[in-house]
Symmetry: C2
Subunit: 139 residues, 2 copies
Amino acid sequence: MPDKPSSSPGQLTRQRKLVWDIVKDSREHLDVKTIYLIAQTRNPFISQATVYRSLTFLKKAGLVDELSLGESHHHYEAVHATPHEHFTCLKCGKLIELETSQFYELARRICAEQGLKVTHMDLLLSGYCPECTMAEGRK
Amino acid sequence: MPDKPSSSPGQLTRQRKLVWDIVKDSREHLDVKTIYLIAQTRNPFISQATVYRSLTFLKKAGLVDELSLGESHHHYEAVHATPHEHFTCLKCGKLIELETSQFYELARRICAEQGLKVTHMDLLLSGYCPECTMAEGRK
DNA sequence: GTCCATGCAAACTGTTTGCACGCGC
DNA sequence: GCGCGTGCAAACAGTTTGCATGGAC
């Protein structure tokens, strides 16, 4: 077990706290660019690299989740108490959160049958939201 | 409805067929680099751009699926007759396919309750495969 | 003084695009 | 001849890294 740091690593520095606050206080799923822009309004000297490094730090600390919502870049959200998954409307782009403990249970059960131990689940659903479904049907 | 092509677009050209054959004949989930390398062995003059454009073409044609398996780049697989999802072992990296019609049914049902019409589902599970679970337990 | 986090810019990876060529009809 | 697909290289977006600086203990 090498490379144990002799000094105190893993501090919640001002910049890291700033990034954390932005992600936590937003009810949205922010991408790095947005986080960076917001961070700049509160600390004009913060760099993009620091945002990336902070997010990596917060991810490791288990404070934020990294989402791959089908786009080329990542989104981030604060880790929720209740697990949930995401539904994207293909027409209007709206993002809807679903409470999905049932999925997790099902996943665990199905996987357990094959000896698989599930620790993490990412579910990305897409389709049409109620408004867009109606709009489609009306056409 | 503009831009109707006057000649014959959407051909399954030699290059596109080559990419399609590679994806189809592989039981793995290939990334672009691998597809490109294999393609080069059969056609040394094919370019990376063509591989990308072919994959886009095949995706639109409904012949291949693009997967975001938690890595920075994409993977591709031939569209299966039976829908399935993917389980990645966090320890050995093994990729296991799961038959998941039950998931799709559950997703449809849960979403329907909220008026959501699901057309596509991506499920990415991770955890430990039987071998690695045992290895962990033994430690 | 030591160690880590930071800022800056450059590097790097994965992907897309502009443009000229050329094949097939 | 015309249109599309192709090859090449350059551009591009997102992310990571090398290095020098600076703050906290």
